[in-house]
Symmetry: C2
Subunit: 333 residues, 2 copies
């Protein structure tokens, strides 16, 4: 396997080989006054030995490091992956590393992850929150690390939030503009404050102004579950517009509709939230509220870096969104 020269080379090795002291080598590495002659000597040796400093020793001494811990509930989510990608870009530029811990939506694992990062002494933590309990808040308080919570508002912490209420409000208005008055809302558990609660409230509030009160049904984040529910619901459905709380739910409805020979959007209009790529890949393309996930990632990354460097950061940053009208919605004729 071609790994022979296993012995790791240290700064002492370099100094011995170059015939100078450790501190001189360190100065060479980190910048400081050094004569041309010794510079050349050391440079040669460093190159030959393929030396690279031990980051643990560095971190130990510096009492800080360039690790950012990220806690995500799942990795198979478009929004999360997009946000991660956005963060990753910033971190790559600013020379931070991203440590990702997946909790599989288990609150216990989230607590573990926080503990792990505490031990790891990461410079900062980004928390993709879903459902936050008191236990979480307690643990968060005991950490002495900068934290940004993404996607869920928690008092006393720095938050990056999607404007879910506004998103719901916009799509509610849009549905009304199209002339729909008989509307169904397909949502998820209200325990999820952002997706479950705020989006729904936005929709209902917008429609209430016109005295429209949507039917409400609850499903999960899984396309499959929305599909099954729709197979039951659609045959005796009276609504002309189904507002789905996520694009994946809309996808499930679309599939059920096709199998039931219900034409979208001629018979029913549907829309989602998120702006996932898949909304463009299906027929008809799905109207959605597009969130700037990547941008959220950028903002989050920059904020956590600022916090790490003890700079000021706004307590709440809102990420905008906008309705993307596609082919799954149409005027009520």
């Amino acid at each position: 396997m071609s790994n022979d020269n296993k012995e790791l080379v240290t700064i002492s090795d370099i100094s011995r080989l170059a015939g100078v002291s450790k501190s001189t080598v360190s100065r060479y590495l980190n910048g400081g006054s050094i004569s041309k002659k010794t510079t050349d000597k050391i440079k040669k040796i460093v190159h030959e030995t393929n030396y690279s400093p031990n980051s643990f020793a560095q971190s130990l001494k510096a009492k800080k490091n360039n690790l950012i811990g990220t806690i995500v509930p799942r990795l198979d989510s478009y929004s999360i992956v997009q946000s991660l990608a956005g963060m990753d870009q910033e971190f790559a530029e600013k020379k931070y590393e991203l440590l990702i811990l997946n909790t599989y939506q288990s609150p216990e694992r989230e607590l573990e992850a926080l503990q792990t990062f505490k031990k790891q002494k990461v410079a900062g933590i980004v928390f993709f929150a879903t459902i936050l309990k008191d236990e979480h808040i307690q643990l968060l308080k005991s950490l002495d690390v900068p934290i940004i919570i993404l996607g869920q508002e928690v008092e006393d912490y720095h938050n990056v939030l999607y404007s879910d209420y506004e998103a719901g409000y916009k799509i509610g208005q849009y549905a009304h503009q199209l002339g729909h008055r008989s509307i169904t809302y397909l949502g998820v558990t209200e325990a999820d404050r952002s997706v479950g609660h705020s989006r729904k409230k936005g929709v209902f509030d917008a429609l209430q102004l016109f005295d429209i009160h949507p039917d409400y049904y609850e499903t999960t984040f899984q396309t499959k579950d929305a599909y099954k529910l729709s197979l039951k619901l659609l045959p005796h459905n009276e609504s002309t517009y189904i507002i789905c709380a996520t694009d994946n739910i809309a996808l499930g409805v679309l599939k059920a509709a096709r199998e039931l020979n219900i034409e979208i959007p001629q018979d029913i209009s549907i829309s989602g939230f998120g702006g996932y790529d898949i909304t463009d890949a299906v027929t008809p393309t799905i109207t959605t509220v597009k969130y700037a996930y990547q941008k959220a990632g950028h903002v989050t990354a920059n904020s956590i870096i600022r916090l790490v460097n003890k700079e000021e950061v706004a307590n709440v940053t809102l990420i905008e969104n906008h309705v993307e009208i596609k082919n799954s919605t149409t005027f009520l004729i």
Copy 2:
């Protein structure tokens, strides 16, 4: 922000507070002969101070750590995310941390990532390879870290491979069984040995036995590109079966077909590779060769852990796959 007691507590603090020596505390922490009395004393203090050891100091001393570096070309890929999830599960159990570096498919960034991991002195590296150049191999050789390369065969290294050739062969046979003789293969660049080269070769070899020689067109991994290409191709297409090199490509073909009023599978059968969730969410559901991505993750994680512990690991591990017949393919009538 409720962070007051910033001062990190060290093992020396504990020892002072408990009135014992550092080494006694360390022994308490790591298991060793300690009297009941001192155990109780130390336990109390550790609890009160909420002490947790500095992992950099530990790693520095132990000359090893529990970080596994992973280099991925992108994060918005079903297969990669699934494999990551599989790895993650194993690592969580075995107390390793996953450090993910996204290279955005840039070979340069891959080299950087390897350097970074070298500095970080990770215990092991998992490399999601796409296109490996000599430069990569050179750098790989200079690293003194266990490495597993996933998805691409590289001599002298440990590989976890998808049986792409076999997958192609199977779908070739399947298409022939259905009675198709006029077949198109929609592939990607052959520079990608696995997806571009092996899958195609499997298909062509299987069909050659029956003297069938598919048409070949090349597209990218993007659904959009496959869609555009299909819009041009399909109107004067003579094939009865289009074999797509990935599920996303199949998705693009399906969309184009719908818009051109070509019925799938009545007019043309199509199939993909991968077994992505989305193949079930569209209508018709798409026949595909399902890869055990999660399992690949498990296997990879276990192998790298074994390597880290200097245990034996097979040089090449193959991950199986199977044809999942759904509604996008049918007998030639």
